[in-house]
């Protein structure tokens, strides 16, 4: 088994095929989309492949250490960050091929006109603990 992160971007990924902002869909199309996402996660729980899924608020702040005894420096939020993560799902699957297959399914979530969004999702393997037997 290997864990993969499926990353969804607000910005930074190539444009999807069905590229219409969500507030321009009909309320029914939004409901269908939400349902698809919930069903997808529920199905992966049943197959024993779901680990975690979270959504993030769009606005974030950059923070860094500023030396002994000083408060951290903060910067942002930036309106035009070029890469912006919207959320993720962590899956635990048997192969890279399975991870790609599932990301493809997730990307088929319906959008405007009830048609698949064809959204680009990023698939990133986790760096796992080293195996016991190495030779």
């Amino acid at each position: 088994m290997a864990k993969y992160l499926l990353l969804k971007h607000y910005r930074g990924a190539p444009a999807p095929v069905n590229d219409v902002p969500m507030d321009q869909w009909t309320p029914e199309e939004i409901s269908a989309h939400v349902q698809y996402m919930n069903d997808f996660a529920a199905r992966l729980e049943k197959t024993g492949e779901f680990v975690d899924g979270q959504a993030l608020a769009p606005e974030g702040t950059f923070v860094r250490y500023d030396g002994e005894g000083r408060p951290p420096v903060t910067d942002g939020p930036f309106a035009e960050t070029k890469d912006l993560i919207a959320g993720w799902m962590v899956i635990d699957v048997d192969s890279y091929e399975r991870a790609v297959e599932l990301a493809g399914e997730l990307s088929a979530a319906p959008g405007a006109g009830g048609k698949p969004i064809h959204e680009w999702l990023e698939v990133r393997p986790f760096l796992a603990a080293p195996p016991t037997i190495t030779e």
């Binding site: 902002p21 199309e29 939400v34």
Partner: protein, 380 residues
């Protein structure tokens, strides 16, 4: 077996151990062990007097653990002094426990966790599941909390307001898991109301009952939020509403108003309206005025703007809103709603989309996006 009965005995059993001289942290661990033992043994072999059984087993667990401890010599003195079981002031002990677990030296998340375990009798695993954190993390949070309050004397008078704040958090910010945290908060508040006569405790209990009564109607089967005005009032829990109203009226009659009573009064006015249109918004505005005097909270003033919008029209609501800082959480959502009522659909749609981007949770975000979508579809 009756798990609710078992859990309701937790605080008084813990109180007895502490009165016998056990330090709070060790006593609390011992009571947890006894609860686990009870869950294992009781189904096949129910005790005649559950509380005595728990006290005996918990005390034994406490002695076992202190004997095994490095500091055994010092603590074994306690064994010799083991008091004979006798009448105990259970109510006072319970109250002291609430105060201790909500002590102001604790952070809110620590106070919540400690209250649920030591007063509520939930296991660490159940609490961890409810708040979506790993069990080891929750175990650490609880043991740190116990260390923090270890120096607090058990008989010091406590602060009711901090206890109410913790119970409010359990009710309002509970997540999921196999424990119904809202129901648990009600149980603990009811138990507190039995231990102390205080109008704000009654006010909080009424507030919880009135909101809990609407719970089944607050979300659609697909998980989406249903706003108050669109809820199926026929499915509100009338028994819970009646109880909440009765408790609230008795509290208000004592003429010591506080913020929970005022919030409950608003909830009661909503519960009282047969339809959304028949809501007594004028009275609700008056209660928000009271609440603003009591708390000076910007969130209250935001909700007050909504109520003014209903009582005196959306323009009046927008005027009230303009006095508030637009960085307040949900400011954009309130503005969107008032603009929609005022007939300005383009502004409303833009603000709903903005509110969705700022939404603090997924259900609200989806709801606000749907509102934007609904208006945009109407404008096409």
């Amino acid at each position: 077996m009756d798990e609710a009965l078992l859990r309701s005995l937790t605080p008084s059993v813990l109180g007895i151990l502490v009165r016998r001289g056990a330090d709070f942290a060790a006593a609390e661990d011992a009571v947890q062990d006894a609860l686990v033992e009870a869950l294992r043994v009781w189904p096949a072999d129910p005790p005649r007097v559950p509380k005595s059984w728990l006290v005996t087993v918990a005390w034994r667990k406490f002695l076992d653990s202190t004997r095994a401890d490095a500091a055994r010599r010092r603590r074994e003195d306690l064994v010799d002094e083991e008091p004979t079981p006798g009448p105990v002031p259970a109510v006072d002990d319970t109250l002291q426990l609430y105060f201790l677990c909500a002590h102001r030296s604790l952070t809110p998340s620590s106070a919540v966790a400690l209250t649920l375990r030591a007063v509520g009798g939930l296991t660490t695993r159940q609490i961890a599941q409810a708040y979506l954190v790993p069990e080891a993390t929750m175990a650490q949070r609880i043991s740190r909390a116990k260390r923090t309050v270890s120096g607090v004397r058990f008989d010091q008078p406590g602060d009711v307001a901090t206890v109410l704040r913790v119970l409010y958090l359990v009710f309002n910010e509970g997540y999921s898991g196999d424990v119904d945290l809202a129901a648990e908060a009600i149980r603990l508040t009811r138990q507190l109301a039995g231990a102390i006569d205080h109008p704000e405790v009654a006010g909080l209990l009424a507030l919880m009952l009135l909101h809990h009564a609407r719970r089944a109607t607050r979300t659609a089967p697909d998980g989406s939020l249903v706003p108050l005005a669109e809820q199926d009032r026929g499915r509100w829990d009338t028994e819970s509403i009646a109880e909440g109203v009765e408790i609230l009226q008795a509290a208000l009659a004592r003429d010591r108003l506080g913020e929970f009573q005022a919030q409950a009064a608003i909830a009661a006015l909503h519960a009282d309206a047969p339809t959304a249109e028949e809501t007594d918004w004028v009275q609700i505005v008056e209660w928000y005025d009271e609440l603003a005097r009591l708390t000076d909270s910007p969130v209250v003033r935001l909700n007050r703007a909504v109520a003014i919008g209903e009582a005196d029209g959306p323009r009046a609501g927008l005027a009230a809103l303009s006095a508030l800082n637009d960085s307040l959480p949900r400011h954009a959502a309130v503005a969107a709603y008032l603009h929609e009522r005022d007939g300005d659909l383009a502004t409303a749609a833009r603000l709903y989309a903005e509110a969705a981007r700022k939404a603090p949770n997924l259900a609200e975000r989806d709801h606000l996006t749907r509102q934007a979508a609904r208006l945009n579809a109407r404008r096409r």
